[in-house]
Structure formats: C-alpha cells, structure tokens
C-alpha cells in the first residue's frame, strides 16, 4: 500500500498552489518605494581594449541618477573561484581577477563594462545606448576555438596568461605510467573524439537582483535569484565589496529554476548594492532574456578524446582521456571544480576498470564563463564513457547489454575504491540493468523495429549505465581536493508553543519541492501532521548558515541536518516528558507523536510537551533550558552514488535525418525515496534536459565571438512534443550507507544518464539501417547532422 502521508508518500507539492495560481513572489515582483532601475552596458565585441568611456552625456540624460564603470570598482575584490586546482607539475592554476565591471578590457560579447541607474527603465536604456556610443573599444582578435587558444601564445584573453590555459590537470598523475602500459599491452583499443556541446541553462526566470541600503543603520539587503543565499552573501560581502556579513541580508525569494546558473555570484549583484548605497534608494536590475544568453554561466563545452583498452571479448582494461574544457573569459565560482573533481573522479563509471587516467586542460576563451549546469562534469564523464563502450561493442561485434553486464561492479564488491579516488558505498547495477531491460521490453524490440521499417523509419535502441557522485560534499575530502568552502548544510527546527513547527533550511528550493518533502520528513519523524509544518528558506536573516542547493545535495545533506535537528528535539522532549511523567528519561519512548513511559499507559502528546517547553510551569528548569528549538549542521561522510540504467528507442527518418524519441526507460537507484511523485518529476525534467542536449540544444559562437544562438529563435529548447511519455522506476534501491535518510539524490540523474542513451540509439538505428560507416555524431544530433552522416 502506498503511504498517503510522511516519508514515502506522494504528497502533492504544496508550493504549486502559489506557483500555478500566479501568486509566487519572484524578485521581479517586488516593488519598493523609491526604486530605481539599473541597466548594464555590455560589450558587443568578444575581445577589446577599452580606450575611453565618456560618461558625461549619458550622465546628463533625463532621469539618470548614476553611471558606474569598471573604474568605480577597480579597488574592490574580485569574484573568486571556489576551487584551487593544481596542474600536473604542481603549479597552482592561473586565476585572473574577475572584476565587478570589466576594466581595461572586455573579454566576451555581453561582458558588462558599465551600468546606468535611472528613474525609469527606459531612461536607463536610453542612457546605456548613449554610453555605448561614447565608448571607444579597440577590437582585438577573438579567441574562440580552444585548440587555437592553446596553440597561440600571442593572443591572450588575459594578458598575464600566455597560452590561455588555466591549468593542465592529471588525475591521477601517479597512475599515468601504469595506464599507458595497460594500453600498450591491450588486445583492443577503441578511440573516440567527441564534443560535449555548450549549453545555455535557460532557467524560466532570468536573473534579477535588487539592492537596498538603510542609511539609518548602514544595513544592506540583496534580493536576488540565488540557489544559495549564504554563499552569495559570503562572496559579495566578504570577497568583493568588503561589507561585514552581518550588515548584509541576502534573500532569494521564489526563484524560477537555476540548473546551476544561479549558484554563482555575478557582478550585477555587487553593482545594485553599491548603487543602492550611493543613491540611498533601492536599485533593481532585471535581466532581459537576451542577457541570459550572453551573461549567465553556460554549461558543458568539452572537447574530448577518450580511449578504452579492452580484451577482444569486451572486458574493460583501461580508460584514458584528454579533454579541453572551456571556462570562458573568467573563472566562475565552481568552474574549476566542474571539469576536474566532478568529472575526472567519475571516469571509471559503474565498471570495475583497473586503470584510469584523465587529463583536463581548461582554457580561457572570449566567450561567456562556463560552469556547473545540471549534472556538472558528470554528464560529460558519462557521455564519454558510455559512447566509447558502445563503440567498442560495435568494433568487436559484441552485445552492448552483455558487455555492460560483464564489466559492472557486483553488489559484493562494495564498498569499492575506484582508481580515480572515490569510494562507492553501495549499489546494485545488475538490478537496475535487469529492470530497464524488463520495463523497456528489450525482448520486443525486433517487432517494433519491423513496424518502424514498414513506415520507412529506422529504429534503434541505445543503452546507458550511469553513475554519479552527488550529495555534495564531504568537506574534509573536498578540502584536500582544493575547495575553498565547506559543503555541509544546516537546518533549524523550531517547535512553536502551540505545537506547529517552523523548519529553517540552508537548502534553497527553486522548483524542486523542498517545502513539500521536508515537511513530510519532519512530520513522519515527529508523528505530526504535514500541514503543521512550514519550511522557511532563502533568507539569511532567518535561516542557519547553509550552502544551498545544487549537486543533488538538498535531501542528502540538508535533509540529514534536518533529521539530526529533529533527533535533538525528540531527545529534549524525552527529558521534558520524563519530568512531567515523573519517570526516568531512559524509560521514555517516543512513538507516533507520543512520549510515553515504556510499559505503561502514561503518556504526553507532542503538543503537550511543546506547550510545556514554552510555558515551563511544571518543567525541570534547573537542568533544562525552556523552549523547543534545535539546529544541526551536517557534513556528509562521503558522496552519495545514485546509479541506473537508461534505455532509449528512437525512430530516424532517413530522408530528412529527423530523430524522434520513441520511448525512454529509466531504472534508477536513488536509495530511499521520500516522495515518489517528486522523484519521478525530477527524472522527467532531467531526461528532458538530456534529450535537449542530445538532439536540440547548442550554443554557437562564430569566429569573431558573436553568439549566433542568442535567442530561442536559434537556440532549440526541448518542448513537450520532443519528449516521450517516460517509463520511470526507482524500485531497485540500495539505501545510502552513511546518511540518516539513506537517500542518494535524484536531481541531476536524468541529465547525466540520458544523452549517451539517445546518441547510442541513433547510431544503432543507422547501423541497423545499413549506414555502418557512421561511427559517431556529435550532439546535438540534429536532422541536418544525421542526414549529413548518412550521406557522408
């Protein structure tokens, strides 16, 4: 029987009532008395020297209150990279300062070099145009192609970095010789060069920030589209503007999606705060959609050569990769971790492969910064591995299912230490593979293929067995790996006098459904009604210091903190109950919302205990503080390792090259599931984005650094009719061994596991259709590319 409340129930998403009835409160919805409007002035060339900016005319235009340029911020701090990565030779990465506004040089189309604040939006726009006209930028050759960037020492994105390389990372460098040796003696080597296409995150709500300054108290407030208000506060206050953290409140109200792009601190946030202080009035900046394309941190953008050494019957012996990873013009906050520790450490996949070596060079180019985007590094790793396994099967004439089964880790091998530095705690990869085969009706494929053929379509089937590391992250481990932050999270559970409960979480919900799921967990643990619990998030003045939501961490990390806080509430409740029931604490049991003396019918309800904590008339005041409120911080002992098997079937129209997804089956292991409906929704969304990457989405810069896909007219987002009705299963669960919920996280899985399943299916369809010369097609596998491959 499915439960109808608490952990494991598909409770309806309570936040949807306000979202779907237009009652959400997003940053743009907030109207403040005396508010002013900021507009950024952005470079329309990819690379240029700022020779002069004449602000006089713009400043004198109607309604204009202030004009800022890079000069105004040259003495404040830079927006830092959160991870220090060392090159293979031990030298630290090159870390150019990322200024609030570009100073001296502009480095990508959309790089903001000035800001106008005016009484109205249109006045600010007019002045921005004037300022652009009065700016003299000497255009320099654009550095766009990564291979050219590395080869050319004369043209530099940052003058102090000769070859445009941020770092040249080897993982694990000490293993390199052994890996090379394994390749030398291998019976078969499969080689694949591929591109992991650059994506624009395209959250439904563009970025927006409102700065306020209280001239009476000197307090600042930043309302902003953030996935992690405390992290943003730390960055903008401590690192950039030098505001004491306790003088700045950061509020991330309802946020319309992030997918990673709203983890990071952006210069506009510093501009609105500085401007608010200067003017003593609220300053709002709301991105236009085209600004999102130009200035949000993009995702992916790897060029990889992967080699796989194997026996002739498909046993994987070694994996070796060389990747160029684009970081764009500046280092965004997680940009150095994404292509390294979120990518290289996953390069063994779910397989028992003894030798793995990963080399990543990150490259500066005159493009928008690139950073973590749903999956972040792990989709790139999964795509490389799952594509090369598939190619190996084809080259050796082996069955793709059997080869995976042969190489997958088996349940008895956990905990398993990979050759790339992780310890997988638990899993059952055979079970999810079997489940996918069953649900995807692999046995019936041939008749479906024949039916497609009768319509003139080529049908193919693609498999991906994926793993990821999430629940980011054990601070001690990431500290060793170069992280400059801790990655714990925190929650406060405040039981009010009348027994209802406020839970303040460090995690931030920007669509995920935390308000529903967190309430389910607390309700379940305390034996109270879900409706008596409110989840409070997104406001640094209300919540404990948490690190926010990304990396599928909210449940595994913040949910664990919350569970610990609830445990403390129960422990204190037992003390109060013992006093009230005149029993010893050890005899009190807590069950189904009641504290009772074991073996008797003497009991106090949770509500009675809460009331007594706040009206402590009959209360052990000598030994126990009144009140019932507990905070817990939780730092995970390890990553969590969700895994699964995805099967995609496609139909290809050989005359036009159009690919239709015929079916998509997911068998996932997310550990314990709190709300199956929400988990399914997360998988649907993630696979939708993966199908988007595989078939549709691409970010294209021309050789001059102009972005050709700067609107939805040319950037193809997946729509409802591009995706099938999914078959989703998460019954093959192996609970996480090291967090109190046994939860692994599900937010990124779909986007990680799906792209290779889609591309493998297309290649399979072409091969079955006789086009056996097609070894690979880069994503997006667009109609034009498929047609060209068939006819190439």
């Amino acid at each position: 029987m499915p439960k109808d409340t608490g952990i494991g129930a598909s409770s309806k998403r309570r936040e949807d009532v306000r979202f779907l009835s237009g009652k959400g409160l997003y940053t743009q919805d907030i109207a403040l008395a005396g508010q002013t409007y900021a507009v950024m002035v952005r470079s329309n060339v990819a690379h240029g020297k700022i020779k002069s900016i004449n602000t006089a005319k713009a400043a004198a235009m109607p309604g204009v209150l202030a004009v800022f340029t890079g000069e105004d911020f040259k003495d404040v701090g830079g927006n830092p990279a959160g991870w220090l990565i060392n090159s293979r030779d031990g030298t630290p990465m090159r870390e150019p300062k990322r200024p609030v506004l570009a100073h001296g040089k502009v480095r990508h189309v959309g790089d903001a070099y000035a800001a106008i604040v005016a009484e109205s939006y249109n006045q600010a726009k007019d002045a921005a145009q004037q300022l652009a006209d009065d700016t003299d930028i000497e255009e320099l050759p654009a550095i766009i192609d990564m291979k050219a960037a590395v080869a050319n020492a004369d043209n530099r994105v940052h003058d102090e970095i000769p070859d445009n390389v941020c770092f040249d990372w080897g993982w694990i460098e000490d293993n390199r010789a052994a890996v090379d040796a394994a390749f030398k003696s291998a019976p078969h080597v499969t080689t694949l060069e591929l591109v992991n296409n650059r994506l624009v995150p395209n959250a439904m709500e563009p970025r927006a920030s409102i700065g306020e300054y209280n001239t009476g108290t000197g307090d600042y407030k930043l309302t902003t589209t953030s996935q992690n208000p405390h992290l943003t506060r730390l960055l903008v206050a401590a690192f950039v503007l030098g505001i004491p953290e306790n003088k700045l409140t950061v509020v991330a109200p309802d946020v319309g999606g992030g997918f990673g792009s709203k983890i990071y601190h952006y210069g506009e946030e510093a501009v609105v705060l500085a401007a608010a202080k200067k003017l003593g009035r609220p300053v709002r900046w709301i991105a236009e959609r085209s600004e999102s394309f130009l200035s949000d941190a993009h995702g992916r953008d790897h060029v990889t050569k992967i080699e796989m050494a194997s026996t002739k019957d498909g046993e994987i012996l070694a994996i070796r990769t060389e990747t160029l990873a684009n970081v764009g013009a500046y280092l965004s906050n997680f940009s150095t971790a994404t292509p390294t520790f979120l990518h290289g450490t996953l390069m063994a996949g779910p397989y028992k492969v003894p030798h793995v070596y990963v080399n990543v060079k990150t490259v500066f180019t005159n493009t928008a910064p690139v950073d973590a985007y749903r999956g972040a590094g792990r989709p790139e790793a999964t795509f490389s591995i799952e594509r090369v396994v598939d190619k190996m099967c084809r080259e050796l004439g082996l069955d793709a299912f059997e080869v995976r089964r042969k190489n997958l880790l088996t349940p008895d091998q956990f905990p398993y230490t990979t050759p790339v530095g992780l310890v997988y705690d638990t899993g059952n990869y055979q079970a999810t593979l079997d489940k996918a085969i069953e649900l995807g009706d692999v046995a019936g494929f041939e008749s479906r293929r024949a039916a497609s053929a009768a319509k003139g379509k080529l049908r193919g089937m693609g498999l991906s067995t994926w793993i990821e590391a999430c629940g980011i992250a054990p601070s001690h481990l990431v500290g060793v790996l170069g992280a400059r932050v801790g990655l714990f999270d925190a929650a406060t559970v405040r039981v009010n006098a009348t027994g209802n409960i406020s839970v303040m979480t460090g995690a931030h919900s920007h669509g995920q459904g935390h308000e529903t799921v967190f309430a389910q967990i607390v309700a379940d643990k305390l034996g109270v009604d879900e409706s008596s619990i409110e989840i409070v998030h997104g406001d640094t003045s209300k919540i404990p210091f948490g690190m926010g939501s990304y990396g599928s961490r909210s449940l595994a990390v913040c949910g664990s903190a919350m569970t610990k806080a609830v445990d403390k509430i129960i422990a204190k409740g037992k003390k109060i109950a013992a006093h009230m029931l005149e029993a010893s604490e050890g005899d009190i049991v807590f069950e189904a919302g009641k504290f009772s003396v074991a073996g008797t019918d003497k009991a106090k309800t949770f509500g009675e205990i809460a009331f007594s904590a706040y009206v402590p008339h009959n209360y052990p005041l000598e030994t126990l503080e009144p009140g019932l409120e507990e905070t817990a911080f939780y730092d995970p002992a390890n990553f969590t390792y969700p895994a699964g098997a995805y099967i995609c079937e496609v139909e290809v129209d050989p005359e036009t090259g159009k690919v239709d997804i015929a079916s998509f089956t997911c068998a996932d292991d997310f550990g314990n599931v709190m709300n199956p409906m929400i988990v399914e929704g997360q998988v649907h969304g993630g696979v939708g984005q993966g199908i988007g990457q595989a078939l549709l989405e691409n970010t294209v810069y021309d050789e001059n650094g102009q972005i050709l896909t700067a609107s939805f007219m040319d950037y193809a987002m997946p729509r409802a009719d591009d995706v099938p009705f999914y078959t989703v299963d998460h019954s093959c669960a192996t609970p996480c061994t090291h967090n109190p919920l046994g939860a692994k996280g599900c937010g990124e899985a779909g986007a990680i596991g799906s792209p290779p399943a889609v591309v493998n299916a297309v290649i399979d369809a072409l091969h079955r259709g006789g086009h056996t010369h097609v070894a690979h097609i880069d994503m997006p596998v667009s109609p034009a590319r498929v047609w060209a491959a068939i006819n190439g």
């Binding site: 249109n122 085209s290 050709l708 193809a716 109609p783 034009a784 060209a788």
Partner: protein, 262 residues
C-alpha cells in the same frame, strides 16, 4: 522600446489617412513587430493598428476564390478555411503556437515576407492575388526577395484572394528552435497545371520550383519528381542546415506534399 503614438482606425479609409503620417507603421498581430520594437530595432512614431477594421477580417468564398481579410488571424484561417481550402487551413494551424496564431495575421505575415514564413508559399503556389488599399498584385509580382515585397511606402494589405485548387498540401520541416520552416513546400494542383512554391530554403525568399511544376503537371505523383535534382546554389546555409541539406528537403517535402495532397 521607444515611445510611439497609437491609433486604431475602424475603416480602411481612416487607416489610409493614419498611415500617411510621418513615421507611421502598420501593426497587425504584432508577433513580429513588437519584439523588434522591444529590441529597439524599430522605432515607429505612430503605430496604426489594423485589427479593428471589420472589412479586413474574415474568410469568404467568392467568384475569384477564397478571400481572406488582411487582418484575419492564423487561428481564424485554421478554423474557417478548412471547408474550402484544407491545405491552407492546415498551414495556418501549424504556424507558431496558440498565442501566435491568435494574434498573428495573414496580412502581417505576407507583408513581412520572412524567408522562413509559411504563408508566402501558399500565396505563391496558389497564384493568389494580394489586395492592398491601392491595387491588386499578382503573387508572381509580389515577392521580390528576402523581407521585401512589391508594397509601396504606406501601402497595406487588405486581403488575399486564393484560387481554390483541386488538390494541395503544405509540408513544413521545422527549424528545430524557431519552428518556422527550415524548408517548406506548398504544392497546388489546378486544372491549368501544378504550382510548387518553396519557402525557408532560398537566399532570395520564397520561389517556384519550375522543373517540379512541369513534371507534376504531366504526372501528379511523387515519382514524377524522383529524377529531378535541386540546385543548392542559391540556397541558405546556416546553423540549422547546409544548402545541400535544404536542397534534399525541397525534393523530399515536395514528394510528401504530392502524396498527401487533398
């Protein structure tokens, strides 16, 4: 967006007067013009809305064919033209999304002459007549290149009259992002012969494929175009497809249009 004046005349005569003001520009559904203005790429001083003119709206069958008022929305054509000219209703039903179809108009589309728009192919393949406040223009004289037409300054489309074919079909291959036509082919069969118009493919905008017309006039079957080749010389190469790919689509879609004509 820059400031502008807005007028909404209720007759063609009033619209003619309004359009005579300096800086006046016609506004129909605004599905093309409004975004252009928001991006500050257009700055008309007076917008003359044509959607309040009753005589420019509606679908009606007359002696010359099916007449559609210039301010008729795609949604109305989709709903009302089907009984007379199913291929045309079909075309309208697959333009954009419901919001675009409920606002966008045939006059706006044909005036704009986007090289990837759908309607121009129907107008050209039907040998339709574009009716303006001043004159009637034959389709073959109307489309003069990408985004350009025979319309004079201040002239506006009051309607389009389509001779009704025996059979016709429009087959559109979507550009993956915009879902305009990456290439679209309209085939219309009349007693006098077959006309084939191609949109989305050419650097010169919508065009007629003469060889296919000749072959299909002799034998209206998909196999009739099998042996033909389409030159890629003047075709568009962009992010979404090369000229060679579009040349392939012209042929494939023509065959499919012939096979599906009704």
């Amino acid at each position: 967006m820059f400031n502008f004046d807005f007028v909404k005349p209720s007759s063609i005569a009033d619209a003619v007067a309004a359009m005579a003001q300096t800086g006046a520009q016609a506004l129909s559904g605004g599905q093309t013009l409004t975004p252009t203005m928001k991006q500050r790429l257009a700055s008309p001083s007076v917008l003359v809305s044509l959607t309040g003119i009753a005589e420019m709206k509606g679908v009606c069958l007359g002696a010359d064919g099916l007449s559609i008022g210039g301010a008729t929305t795609h949604a109305t054509v989709a709903a009302e033209a089907g009984a007379y000219y199913p291929a045309l209703a079909d075309l309208a039903a697959n333009i954009g999304d419901p919001m675009v179809r409920n606002r966008g108009t045939i006059g706006g589309s044909v005036a704009n002459n986007d090289p990837a728009a759908c309607y121009p192919s129907a107008v050209l393949a039907s040998g339709a007549t574009v009716v303006t406040n001043k004159r009637k223009i034959a389709a073959d004289d109307y489309f003069v290149g990408m985004f350009s037409t025979a319309l004079d300054e201040g002239e506006f489309i009051t309607g389009v009259t389509f001779p009704v074919p025996e059979k016709a079909a429009y087959v559109k291959f979507n550009q993956p992002a915009s879902r305009f036509a990456l290439t679209g082919v309209f085939v219309a069969k009349y007693a006098s012969g077959v006309r084939v118009a191609v949109t989305g493919a050419s650097n010169n905008g919508v065009f007629r494929w003469a060889e296919a017309e000749a072959a299909l006039s002799a034998n209206f079957s998909a196999s009739a175009v099998e042996g033909l080749t389409v030159s890629a010389a003047d075709l568009i190469t962009d992010l979404h497809g090369t000229a060679a790919y579009r040349a392939n689509l012209v042929k494939v879609l023509t065959k499919r249009a012939v096979a599906g004509a009704k």
